[in-house]
Symmetry: C2
Subunit: 555 residues, 2 copies
């Protein structure tokens, strides 16, 4: 490495939040670095901050401006928060996409769906195979997580080796996917690791994580003891869990039926890519309808209470002709992600009304996390023994706690949220701060989170919307009265007269009083009408609506 070259790390998404992962590494002279991008994921909208939005991506404008220096995109695994944006954003980056077969299967489909070239997805072999990408040599390091073929990345540069963990846990018996392999870890650590860029999701979980293998016996027992139909949900992408659940159903003498598109797709992908062996035979929903319910187990989508998923549809009544009944059992083999509680609770109460018994993971035995807990993170630090720990995959509180964990063991660590450029070649100095943010996929259009579109929607939702139309004739005189339409406002207010009538009367008076100067000036007239609507509505119904005024001039 010559003295004017540097090795930089720049998270564009996923550091300071959970989801929407996108991490840039760069190597070269300052301002002339070559880049790789690790992961290109999504996060999900909510009604509070992003109503009507379909998906959320990291703002990649900084990298897009430098895409001629982008050599490759690497995807660590097939979770939406790591691969979900590849189809939507590829045209703005145009670099080859490397992934292992199961991940590549999903990435290719996503590329195709958005009209991006599927042949730009290149299947990677795992460690010790290396991929050349500009000044980088990158290897996929098999790890245990909650989806097959999850991988960390070993990123070799002239300035040294980086290990980017991706999502991982230290599971020696993950059932599907690769087990924690201490020999491989030691081998990777051996030449020395400059920086360990490390998952922080579970840094607040104090005890060593449990293995996926611990879940099966408990679930088998639960299913065996059940009297009626059993329905279980988990993340469809958690193929190991889906298999554990299916095996438990079979062990209890039940036929297994998969419900929900992503559930079927994930199992298909597992078969197609060879990561899923000896998955029990499943039956179709049509066949399931013919079976006695005590012989049946359904595996369904919707562990987070998603309105359109199979679990929510069963909670509302029927899904593909299947219904739940008294004495059936519903199992959440999953954790509720903060923010999704209301949806999940709604489903539980609907099932309660049907007399269905719901079992969730309160007891901590029907689900294990896919992320390394605090002691496991400390172990990862110890094995890799890096010069520098850079926590990623976490909100600010997780990153800060992870820095603290490193410090407890005498290690250097740097807290770098989205937009923070870290010079790894110079001890982790923060050398720049990049403007980052969010891009909303809104229907088929990408809009900036700060563009005001969503802000206007939120305002209409909070305040209602009043439309005022007024026609001004050729002599600058009002032709008739102002006309008012309401949307999202009460019909009557304080005076017990129709709000529409009250507003029209008040606006009529305003127009009658208005001087010629105001009537000639669109801006002044619109502003006067807007103010009067807000004043009058506030007086009648106690809040000020959004107002749109259209003045039509017959000229």
């Amino acid at each position: 490495m010559s003295s004017n070259e540097r090795l930089i790390y720049l998270p564009l998404g996923g550091a300071g939040e959970i989801g929407m992962n996108a991490y840039v590494y760069g190597y070269g002279p300052k301002g002339k670095e070559r880049y790789i991008l690790v992961d290109i994921g999504v996060t999900f909208p909510d009604m509070d901050s992003s109503p009507g939005v379909d998906l959320i991506f990291a703002d990649i404008a900084w990298l897009e401006e430098r895409k001629d220096r982008l050599d490759a995109i690497f995807i660590t695994h097939a979770h939406e928060d790591h691969v979900g944006a590849v189809g939507h954003l590829w045209h703005r980056l145009e670099a080859p996409v490397y992934a292992r077969p199961f991940t590549a299967y999903h990435a290719t489909r996503k590329m195709g769906e958005q009209g991006a070239p599927e042949d730009q997805v290149i299947i990677a072999q795992p460690w010790p195979a290396m991929i050349d990408a500009g000044p980088f040599k990158v290897s996929f390091m098999p790890l245990a997580h909650s989806i097959p073929e999850s991988s960390g990345l070993v990123i070799d540069t002239p300035a040294g080796r980086i290990v980017h963990t991706g999502d991982f846990k230290m599971d020696e018996t993950p059932l599907v996917g690769e087990a924690f392999d201490p020999v491989m870890w030691a081998e990777i650590a051996k030449p020395g690791v400059k920086a360990l860029v490390c998952d922080s999701t579970n840094v607040f979980s104090q005890h060593a994580g449990k293995s996926e293998a611990s879940v099966g016996p408990e679930i088998t027992k639960l299913v065996s003891d059940a009297r009626g139909m059993v329905v279980a949900t988990t993340f469809a992408s958690n193929v190991a869990r889906v298999k554990t659940l299916a095996d438990a159903g079979v062990a209890a003498g039940r036929s297994v039926c998969l419900l929900g598109r992503s559930m079927r797709r994930m199992v298909e992908a597992g078969h197609a890519t060879g990561v899923l062996t000896d998955f029990p035979k499943t039956i179709s929903p049509e066949d399931a309808r013919e079976l006695p319910r005590e012989n049946l187990m359904l595996l369904v989508t919707g562990s987070q209470g998603e309105r359109r998923a199979a679990s929510a549809q069963l909670a509302r009544g029927k899904y593909l002709g299947l219904t739940m009944k008294e004495n059936d059992l519903f199992l959440f083999s999953s954790k509720t992600i903060p923010g999704n509680e209301r949806g999940v609770i709604k489903i539980i109460n609907s099932f309660s009304e049907m007399g269905v018994d719901v079992v969730d993971d309160r007891a901590g035995i029907y689900h294990v996390s896919g992320h390394a807990n605090r002691p496991d993170l400390a172990l990862a630090h110890e094995i890799m023994n890096p010069d520098l720990v850079i926590p990623m995959h976490g909100e600010h509180r997780h990153l800060r706690e992870h820095v603290r964990l490193a410090a407890e063991h005498g290690r250097s660590a740097v807290l770098a949220v989205n937009g923070t450029m870290v010079d790894i070649s110079r001890g982790g100095d923060i050398v720049d701060s990049i403007q980052t943010g969010r891009t909303y996929l809104d229907g088929s259009v990408q809009i900036g989170a700060m563009d005001g579109v969503v802000r206007d929607r939120i305002r209409m939702a909070l305040n209602g919307h009043v439309l005022v139309t007024l026609i001004i004739d050729e002599k600058n005189e009002p032709l008739g009265e102002p006309w008012v339409e309401l949307k999202g406002l009460p019909e009557t207010g304080r005076s017990n007269a129709a709000l529409q009538d009250v507003l029209e009367a008040d606006l009529g008076q305003l127009v009658n009083r208005a001087g010629r100067k105001t009537l000639r000036d669109d801006d002044a007239l619109e502003e006067a009408l807007r103010r009067e609507v807000r004043r009058s509505a506030n007086n009648e119904v106690g809040h000020k609506p959004e107002v749109t005024v259209v003045v039509s001039r017959l000229a």
Copy 2:
């Protein structure tokens, strides 16, 4: 009791949900019963289902229609979900309101704020004092909860005694408020209890509840060990906890300052009504600013992450000149209510960015619940030994589980959600089903939850809103082109032309092609314009907006 008289129970709110409590009891010949109402609370809106709404009440239309037969309203305690609607709904019921002094203090203020007669709030003495209300004799039974003077109600009728617990726990050392008194409970149980109408909130909590007294020593230790300023939050109404926190601050040699209107109000109410003795002296925010931070403890509102409360304002920067800094400590001495996680996590991350250490109740030592856990509920059943258990205060899953708990001990119980009329005098038969629902306070107006106002707001938030205006002249010819205004939609879509221009062009073509019949018919014309906007917008931006069309006729 003559054979044609009956004793009924009818929840209008609070059974099948948590919050918005309102329970009707009736006694008399069918259709001529005299009524009392127990509690008249609120629940809180959320962006998902009730954007822009200020408060939510139970729909009391059924009782309003029979208000000539309503003899009294009893309020068990001063929590918003029990007393919050008294000012807003009193005019629709017009009955005297009975409450113990601390509760009456709050009820009176709420009545005054809404222009209801304050002298209709009547202070009640506790058991064994009895209040006559038509055929009912009612006594306030002191209980432990998380606010002073919480009470159950002993409701005597010619058909026997009902015990309505309100919110309660079995705390023998609640610090503020009355301890669980087994002698009084036994005395009340002695003549026989027809029905125990019982809190279900914590029926899923398997272990006996801990006492408020267990919290103080842990908090004192935490505060004593802190280096910088300490800030703690809890529900302001949890006066016992506020005192525990303040005592801990003083024990650690700190001056205590109360921040947030409801925090100051609750302590004032405690002083004014005599329920709060030896509360430590507090200092003003002005004086607090002059003290070294290690000598200071702030008690603040906003334990649920409420945007406008003191905790959120400190998280955003400054509150009354006070700021948080590195090495300060923030304590959530509270549980996060499901649905409030996002707001709370946002605050924690903001504090993390400031270097403030946040302690929450994950360890289970800095907060205890105010509700009876499962074993305590079983004990309450045992002491009262009622003919019938009627679970209330809970979602469907809580009520169902509470019925199950009763059954485990061989007791009769009935699951009655809002609108279910139970005949207590006839073994708990369900005799009627009443239409119930929610009333929204929207600004200053009460609207029905199903009126469509809020539905329109949600649709605008999800889809955006397009306004179309068109002028038709005296000859039924369009005068100029249709005019389009957008709100909450992207400026450009697929064609890269301005969406407004695309829509106006498409609508212009439609109008040009339209036959005279369509142009004469407002409904047909508006519908055609609406469809075209939705089609064209969907083509451009991938979703169909809400549309308002205004056709102005020069006639």
